[in-house]
Symmetry: C2
Subunit: 694 residues, 2 copies
């Protein structure tokens, strides 16, 4: 699957020859991992040393997970996690997505300009600090005070780390767990020089394409290899994980260490209904149409197909996710179960007069805020959140225009995405000389403007202002052909020039963005004050109620921060048919049609005679993962990598809301096919050697 | 507004100077019109002569309503109802959709090859006949027997009419009212020679385009004029309606006579949930993507834009309808109200032991059938109902292949859409020399194949068979470039050649359709037996329960058969703002941007100095209409046409499920702007004279 919505790692030494299917639900933090439960259930000891090793071997990429697999900074992740980098490095003459890439030696490893690699090196509970900052304040003032306190924590943490010789400068990010129930300050070592080492051809990495996405059985070599650099040299990473190229066994205990992006299991019924009624259907309608525009554009030439492929893949992946999320929310059983759980929690509050007096009725507060949100959702989505414009160029303009205002303020007064902690990452992206395709920019921008006019109506003041004389097509053409924002040096000049440079600019995209900005700001303010503030306050109260009833025996929703979970290698039963947990190489060839996306690359056809057709290819486990876990190492009880998580089955998507023990499965590449690929297909000698393949 | 989902007629003499907003719900049949209620409420007498006149002046077109407005067969309807005809008559050199059309004299009126005009001349209640045919049979056998009896009734009716010198040959169609509560045999006089007389430019007919569709206030001259011919001469139509070019007054009683296409107000909760969870979301996803493909294709050249416009307009209209239908179904208040009504009706059955014993629990029967349908819906939609292929050429092939089998059977054994009654209309469509655009055919077919593979999965047996060696693109190109079905004579030869010709054909599109046919047939059979049969049986039982509780004080759901309803000219309140019931010409010019779809045609710009800017343009009423009512005459109490229904407001779309008195409004063209247009803008002298414009 792609970027958002995948995977979970699990690793284990098989102590029992066969473990029955168990409900191994939970995306546990490293500071609250239930080692006792694992010991009781599997007889396996997960001690602090094991946890530290797994944590320090796990990497957070921009949208994915990865792991260090050599002492010299070698990183194993998914092909779909390096696809953007491949696309950025591709040209009409050399399509790295289609053809794959093998550096061969280190001098030929190529920088992924927009990539980063973060390792979680410290975790501090700051719940009390944040609670003190908001105590006694109204929802709205508390919301501002909370954000100020979070910014301050991050700012101090980074400043201190810069003075600390041992740690060196760290990235500090606060994390909200249990929807406001806990606040943590996570500290990361960040690598910003990440280079491409190896990627197979798209046709084997994503064999089956979108039709097979979120399906199992599966035959995808969804792997990509990067390397972290420091000071121009391969990073020293003694904390790496070892790869065991024999893969796991059926029934084996396995762990997934990674960064699940987002789940909504703790939301109230009112919040789920907002997603069901408004957010997801509207998003799907827009995404499906944009997909149609991309697909049609891709058919206009080979170069069009190549240049739009990465964006189209991401979009199709998200469509499948949202579609199945909507199915889950439309299942009245799910809403009934959520309503039931909510009723029970409310009853437990009512039974505790002191607690009841302290928190009131936060469920109603959230429902009221949802009603406000429903009236705001359309203008907010189109004007503030970008559905009404879109494309790289318009996004650059938005960031530059907004940052110019924000950076003139004190750090703690800024919107959280423009604090000092966030600026280096923005600057990295502005400076990256990635290709911009004007035709695709025009498609995106025209589409956004057309749909904004449809949904907000032609008489909405901003719509009238923007489109009073030009059609969406005409406006988009004028902006895209007239702007200079495709040039990184122009972007950096505007970035460094601050508000004065922005105010003075006559770049048409900057002018457009300035025109949108006042209404966008006003909507954001209304959202923050009238929706976010009461929801944050109420959610924190619900978290208190939940802690009172359940303690921390439940895990927090996913937040794209590091989690660990456990499960076993197993298939499932689908319509009475048993799905086996492993696929094998032979079936790849049988299933090929010769036409994409079911085409086996030439290299694999040529290698066929010398390959063992019984080699295991992909596998399924019952670990509890979600998008963001893509690229996670599947780890055995000895702490070795035995698989590379890249997807979940179709039932895993409902994992956004609940964990379906019987059906929800993680899908991973078996390390045995990785050995075969590197050694017998790609003849990647140096890489194989570095990975310890004989 | 377009084709499906529009309008309702109402006409009235204002006896009271101001009538408050009243809930004038109901799409009444002409045989059960509540004249007494109208008399009581408005003091207006609607007698049988009035009803007969309105009925005989109303026309059913292929997808719309219309009315006779001169004794020489002149027909008034909407521009969007003649848009397909305009597109069929257009060429790259002469775009009649864009430029409009004025015949000037009768010799230049141009045939709309796929159009028909039906006038309802007789109505016979055959409920008892159908009840006798199914009595004592199991659901499945009853379903077959019912269809046989319906076919027999139509067959006998048509045979008798051919012997009747007075009536001449008639089209006979059975109608199922109240979901099986009543069966009627409707007899129509059908005109198959319908010619184009006048259409304005698209830019004034559909001013505001899709963004303004289903909106009010509005400035659309959505009119088109046709003429019925018999034996090559203008049809004699003494039963026509007179047009009153002074339009209606605010608050005036008005009637809509027309053919509302389909409503689902009497469905059970289980059936509504099927629409909410499955049918509408899946349809919307596909339609939105196809829209994106069409839009992107349209941008590739002027000719591409011209050739795809008609299909794109229809699609965008349907998307807006389905989107708001989904919103309505996602409104828990609607489902709660439906559940409440259902509970009450079930209670009334339970209180009547004799009735309860006779009908059992039909609601559960329907719920069970819905569960079966949910498992069948995907393959049925893609394989039998055409979502997996699509386009004109593939549709011709399906009809030819299936008709070859069906026509070899006895008339009463055939699928209902291939009975003798239906064949002439099929043949008319096969014989029509309408333009086929290969590029659009390829878009449709590729799209269908790609989505079929996505939704049924690449391992579905039929998907594997069709796409084992070719990609969807390759297959679609081969079929479209290889088929000869774009030639009407080839189609007719296959039609006349019957099964032998079909079996012998090596036309690739016929070969493809033959390959799909067995699985499509099997799915259709399962649907008919396992879903339709129990739902028909149960619905008839629910109708009995409803009649027992309510009599015929309720109206039947819309069935694209003739209905009459009443209401008054009025606006509504939206977010605290009063919407006035009339728009005026001046605002058209103020609102224009110069770019489509907000561009005023040159002719209207040139005419501006001589036009009265206070002329009324469009208007709103509270009549209860739905798609199919497009083109309906808005009639006053004297039986004169005072408006031309072309749309509903955005709230009217929830009218599929219930009538929202406060918000649901019909939108019509005022006859005053029609006079201005014909007389002062288009200088359409002969036409103006025939319509009685001085």
């Amino acid at each position: 699957m792609r970027k958002y919505f995948i995977a979970a790692v699990s690793a284990a030494l098989v102590l029992l020859t066969s473990i029955p299917a168990l409900a191994d639900e939970g995306m546990w933090t490293y500071h609250d991992f239930p080692s006792a439960a694992v010991a009781a259930k599997f007889g396996v000891t997960i001690d602090q040393a094991w946890l530290d090793r797994a944590r320090l071997g796990t990497i957070r990429l921009a949208n994915c997970t990865a792991s260090f697999v050599s002492p010299n900074g070698l990183i194993l992740t998914n092909h779909h996690c390096v696809e953007s980098c491949l696309a950025e490095l591709s040209t009409q003459q050399n399509d790295l997505v289609g053809n794959g890439f093998l550096a061969g030696d280190r001098a030929k490893e190529r920088r992924c300009q927009t990539q980063i690699a973060d390792v979680l090196v410290g975790m501090t509970n700051i719940t009390d600090r944040i609670a003190a900052a908001v105590a006694g304040k109204s929802d709205r003032t508390a919301n501002d005070a909370r954000k100020k306190a979070l910014t301050e924590s991050e700012q101090n943490c980074e400043a201190n780390s810069r003075k600390d010789r041992k740690s060196g400068p760290l990235k500090c990010e606060t994390v909200n767990l249990y929807n406001g129930g806990q606040y943590w300050l996570y500290q990361y070592k960040r690598y910003t020089d990440v280079r491409l080492v190896f990627a197979p051809e798209r046709d084997i990495a994503a064999f089956g394409g979108d039709p097979d996405n979120f399906q199992f059985p599966r035959w995808c070599l969804d792997m990509g290899v990067l390397r972290a650099y420091e000071n121009g040299k391969p990073a020293q990473t003694p904390q790496h994980l070892n790869v065991n190229f024999d893969g796991p066994k059926a029934g084996e205990l396995v762990f997934v260490s990674g960064h699940p992006g987002s789940t909504d299991r703790l939301l109230t019924v009112a919040q789920l209904e907002t997603q069901r009624d408004i957010d997801i259907p509207r998003w799907l309608l827009r995404a499906a149409e944009l997909r149609g525009r991309y697909v049609q554009y891709a058919k206009s030439s080979d170069e069009a197909a190549r240049s739009v492929e990465d964006q189209l893949n991401g979009l199709e992946n998200s469509i499948k996710v949202r579609r199945k999320q909507l199915d889950a929310l439309l299942d009245d059983k799910l809403i009934a179960a959520k309503r039931d759980a909510e009723t029970k929690l409310r009853a437990s509050v009512a039974a505790d007069p002191k607690l009841a007096a302290a928190i009131g009725d936060p469920w109603s507060d959230i429902a009221k805020a949802q009603a406000v949100y429903r009236t705001l959702q359309l203008p907010l989505t189109f004007i503030e959140n970008g559905a009404g414009w879109g494309g790289h160029l318009a996004n650059y303009a938005r960031v530059l225009v907004r940052a110019a205002d924000e950076r003139a303020k004190a750090n703690t007064d800024r919107l959280r995405e423009y604090t000092d902690t966030a600026l280096p990452r923005i600057e990295q992206q502005l400076a990256a000389a990635v290709p911009i395709y004007p035709e695709i920019e025009i498609i995106r921008l025209t589409f956004g403007l057309e749909r904004m006019r449809e949904w907000l109506g032609p008489d909405h003041p901003l719509v009238r202002e923007l489109l009073s004389k030009e059609s969406p097509d005409e406006l988009a053409h004028r902006l895209v052909s007239g702007t200079k924002l495709n040039d990184p040096s122009v972007r950096l000049a505007l970035w460094n020039g601050g508000r004065q440079a922005i105010d003075a600019s006559d770049d048409p995209m900057i002018v457009f963005s300035r025109e949108v900005e006042p209404e966008a700001r006003a909507l954001r303010k209304r959202y923050d004050d009238e929706v976010e503030a009461p929801v944050e306050a109420a959610s924190e109260k619900i978290a208190r109620a939940r802690f009172a009833a359940l303690g921390t025996s439940v895990y927090p929703d996913a937040t794209f921060t590091l989690r660990l979970n456990y499960g076993t290698v197993q298939g499932w039963r689908e319509n009475g048919v048993e799905i086996a947990p492993f696929t094998h190489l032979s079936r790849l060839y049988e299933r090929a049609t010769g036409a994409e996306p079911f085409k086996v690359p030439d290299r694999w056809l040529a290698a066929k005679p010398r390959l063992d057709m019984t080699t295991r290819f992909d596998l399924s486990t019952n670990n509890d993962i979600v998008g963001g876990n893509s690229g996670s190492p599947l780890i055995n009880a000895k702490g070795e990598v035995v698989g590379l998580v890249f997807d979940g089955n179709i039932h895993s998507i409902s994992g956004s809301y609940w964990f379906d023990t019987a059906m929800n499965r993680t899908v991973a590449v078996d390390t045995t096919i990785i050995r075969t690929a590197l050694h017998d297909v790609y003849d990647a000698r140096a890489l194989a050697e570095e990975l310890g393949i004989r």
